[in-house]
Amino acid sequence: MTGEEIVLAVSRIEERAKPREKCAMPAVTVPVESLAVFMRAIHDDPALSFDMLCTHTAVDWLGENRFELLYVLCSLKHGHYLTVSTSVPRDKPEVSSVSSIWRIAEWQEREVYDLMGVLYSGHPDLRRMFLEDDWNGFPLRKDYKDDFMLELPE
């Protein structure tokens, strides 16, 4: 399926899905409440069949006070890709986990929790991945500061 067909098929599944602008590959934005259902649908749908979660990460838009969660999906059966984007507010970053759909999401989400502080509901094992359990703060956030950081001279 070409990029436009995918976006079309996806918006039939979820009406509130909009194409994400300024993206070189097919990408849609969905609201966070419908994320779990949406992901399950595009995983199971035979024409789309997104069976592999290539990667999951988050972008900290400090100016807009939101985290943008990105899921890059791939279909090995059909050979097409889709990027799903959703936004959560920075002060209450909660989203439902997709670890029941793709097993790797369990650990991808742990990484995003560790570095960005996004909380996943329904996650079987939500703990830090790279940093120690008692670390304070989430390093990849744009406003992260700690005692060891070096500031670039202006």
């Binding site: 990667t55 900290d60 703990r127």
Partner: protein, 386 residues
């Protein structure tokens, strides 16, 4: 509803078996972070019942250097130097992933000579990486001699790289817009000499290690990863192909000059350690085939299409590029705000997914099998931790 994160101690407790009158006592054993066969600084908490593994909990983060955070302060050309340090055994391919992402986004054109050189270097790197894997694999199984043979052959490729790029491990060779230096005048001659030297050696190793009955007994039927689990865990590279899924970006996306050469993709049948071993040996053969087709006809041209000091600015937006390294699919996801430095750069690491497949394969097997499985997955830990 509040979402409460847990600690490692909670996780360990959650896996404990309920004690019954006839149960044996399980115990935790720590493999690593310093251990001869955890390929890097990796800690595996193994819950054992006698010699049988019940659960494997990998603990990573010992080599976490914050490469993604550092990337936000560096220009794209400088970030190439960090990309080497991910999976350092595939350094040149890592460079290529980031360079190609930048080129596609910024619209930089490159010529055929550059593509051919990049493809040649990537295939040589693949052979070199698999040589090291083979040596370490033998060592983990107990055949220590294989380690020294593998490294002896790897030295030949390392010398070729050193001549052209100046470095043995972290090459920083492939830049956005081309390659950093033109290939050394002796490059073609040395590569041909290497191919002539290595091809009979590969057959020798087949007899020495692959045909050995003890190796077969240790590997066949051990650590089976079903195709469904492999795709769900997102494994890529030889691990995925050994499980029977024929997915190789060199064929499906045909970047570089892969579209112009003939080669096959080895695909396994059962997904056990033997298949993973065999797929990598076959990949070495196919890489030799690709190099043979390209080495004699490197097109003429410049080795860099943009000036080395030109500023590279990516237009605002989200970009993603993937490529097949020796271990799997490495992806570079760049979010740019229009400037010289990325707003967010994320690297999709193949070893991240491949390592977690251990938790699916190991339960029910023995410690010796765990070592064989870990070795057959071929993990390089800095790639996981970034």
């Amino acid at each position: 509803m509040t979402i409460r994160p847990i600690t490692l101690a909670d996780r360990i407790a959650a896996g404990q078996k309920v004690e019954s009158l006839l149960s044996t006592q399980e115990y935790f054993v720590n493999m690593g972070p310093q251990h001869p066969s955890t390929h890097g600084v990796l800690r595996l908490l193994v819950r054992l019942d006698g010699e049988t593994v019940r659960e494997v909990i990998p603990v990573v983060g010992y080599v976490h250097r914050g490469i993604e955070k550092m990337g936000e302060y560096l220009t794209y050309r400088k970030f190439i130097h960090l990309s080497d340090r991910l999976d350092y055994l595939s350094a040149i391919t890592n460079n290529w992933v980031v360079a190609m992402a930048v080129e596609k986004a910024a619209g930089i054109e490159i010529n055929d000579r550059i593509q051919t050189i990049r493809t040649l270097c990537a295939e040589l790197q693949r052979i070199q990486s698999h040589q090291l894997w083979w040596g370490v694999f033998g060592m983990d199984l107990g055949a220590f001699t294989a380690f020294l043979y593998g490294f002896r052959d790897r030295e030949v490729v390392t010398d070729i790289f050193e001549e052209t790029t100046g470095a043995r491990l972290t090459m920083n060779y492939i830049q956005p817009g081309g390659v950093m230096f033109d290939i050394h005048p002796d490059f073609v001659k040395n590569v041909k000499k290497f191919l002539a030297y290595f091809k009979p050696k590969l057959e020798e190793y087949e007899t020495l290690v692959s045909g050995n009955v003890i190796v077969q007994a240790r590997l066949r039927g051990v650590g089976i990863l079903s195709p469904g689990a492999a795709v769900s865990i997102g494994t890529t590279g030889p691990v995925l192909r050994a499980s029977g899924v024929a997915h190789d970006l060199r064929k499906s996306e045909a970047y570089g000059v892969y579209g112009k050469v003939q080669f096959d993709i080895p695909v396994g049948v059962k997904g056990d350690c033997w298949d993973r071993y065999w797929v990598r040996i076959e990949e070495m053969r196919q890489s030799i085939r690709i190099i043979e087709q390209l080495i004699d006809s490197i097109p003429e041209g410049k080795h860099m299409t943009i000036k080395p000091t030109a500023k590279i600015k990516l237009p605002e937006g989200l970009y993603y590029n993937q490529m097949e390294t020796a271990r799997g699919i490495l992806g570079a996801l760049i979010v740019s705000d229009g400037g010289e430095k990325p707003y967010r750069i994320h690297l999709r690491s193949p070893n991240f997914n491949n390592l977690w497949s251990v938790t699916a394969m190991a339960p029910g097997l023995r410690i010796a099998d765990l070592v064989a499985i870990l070795s057959s997955i071929d993990v390089v830990v800095p790639d996981i931790d970034r």
